[in-house]
Amino acid sequence: MSAQTKFPQSENRPLVVLGIESSCDETAAAIVRRDALGNGEILSNEVRSQDAAHAPYGGVVPEIAARAHVEHLDRIVARALMNASLGLDGVDAISATAGPGLIGGIIAGLMTAKGLALVTGKPFVAVNHLEGHALTARLTDGIAFPYLLLLVSGGHTQLLIVENVGQYTRLGTTLDDALGEAFDKTAKLLGLGYPGGPAVEREAASGDRNAISLPRPLMGQDDCNFSFSGLKTAVLHAVNRTHRDDPDLRADICAAFQEAAADCLRDRTGRAMTRFEARHNDLETPVLVVAGGVAANTRLREVLNNLCQARGYRLCCPPHALCTDNAAMIAWAAAERLAGGAADNLDVMPRARWPLDPDAEAVPGAGVKA
């Protein structure tokens, strides 16, 4: 970790922060304002997706992503400023994702931000992309600490207790594939294209979720971990047994896959709730926040909503545009850290891997997804 510089933060000062995100295949910049009471407001939020550039490859190609980020970052930042009707002089601090993710892209965004911070002399914050996801619910819904977080994206599937800014307890993670990745692989197996999550959901709508039986890996186990590679293999077998070009069968496989994923989420999240309650037994209405691109899935939301009702939780799903990769969450996480008086030096290292809870037990198969 880089040395932290102190950011002189007087209690009642609002903060306007520029955020940059480039850790995967979205080039994004945003301006967010955090008032003295801790309320957030998005002044602008620009995202340029590279989906079209990666689609022919059936997934994100790191070198292609890094090249595109460098080409577009400065223009996206300029647009974020313009749409917020601000010049850089109206910004109090500069921030960027410093990890985890695809290192080439992270470097591009991080260096753009460092360059901006150097010449403007403004404080700089290197943000953990996962912390961006974790704190979004405070920007959108003003959720108070502590809360339970289910992070389900293309790169991560984790259950965490968000205790405070910079303070996370990981209860579980995937041992292999992330859930979004499993959706994408399923879509690929069925020839549905990339990104696969929305395509699988669309197909599933007309399918019979009981037509095919698929496994629910780890369901019933005492921990809060996930595993989706077995599910993906089962989908592969189901596809091989049948003909993937039969639209009815394709829909049935999608529906069955989505239902298996939903059951896993329900079971694993339920267990995490029990652990959360054991740690924080004084909360009147505990909150479950669901973040990450997979949270867009209506069936998964429905299942989690039912779980929350049964367990007396409030479910908070930030709007889709703030659940997938975006820079507003990066600017917001930076603002939250600055409000606590922390900033970073310009020698911060880009990190492909950066767990939110460095003390969590190692999970060998999880790799960068931990």
């Binding site: 022919p56 490859y57 059936g58 190609v61 070198e63 292609i64 890094a66 090249r67 980020h69 460098v70 080409e71 970052l73 400065d74 930042v77 300029a78 850089l88 290192i103 080439g104 470097i107 591009a108 965004g109 991080l110 260096m111 753009t112 931000a113 460092k114 360059g115 901006l116 150097l118 010449v119 403007t120 310009l346 020698d347 911060v348 290292m349 880009p350």
Partner: protein, 225 residues
Amino acid sequence: MRVLAFDTAMPACSVAVVECGGAGAEILAHRFEPRARGHAEVLMDQIAETMSDAGVGYSDLDRLAVTTGPGTFTGVRIGVAAARGMALGTGLPLVGVTTLEALAAAGAGLTGGSVAAAIDARRGEVYVQCFSNDLTPLSEPCVVTPADAADVLRGHTPLIVGTGARIMRDVCGEAAGFTFDAAAPELSDACHVACRGAVKPSDGPPPSPFYLRAPDAKLPQRKDG
């Protein structure tokens, strides 16, 4: 014209503030540090220190210059992304200079004739381009095997500079009429980036990385089709 230039495209990190004028160039401050990695971490401190050594602020500069490659993909992006961020933050014009041209500029003083920059591109290839002594390009930049590079350069009888010079000498010796000089620079340096940057038009689009190699990515084989 006062130029802040930097280079992270090769196994070195260099920064210079140079007063480039008609009569010549005066280096106000300069840093050159060989390093294989870690450019992203050290670059900003290097720039800040060089600026402070030169005793100038960003508003005292006339333009920024950066190497665009070819070099390591990551190193090229570190420099170009930082430079474009700085240009946005200062409103200063930003120009790109290739590592090949910066190297040739460094070699031009060692000879009265043409200069070829050759950079080790790994995978058995070199990035290569030939320039006249006044740095007019005599060949297109390309990435080729040393033997093919010799074909590109044949007829120009240049002094060969850069990390690829040693490779070229091992492969084709001096037979082809090339000259080698033990004092020839191996790595590009920000001082030359500044001077070359000073003479380029600055009203174009922001400089893009110059990779000379396509990304390593294979299109999936279609099973049906």
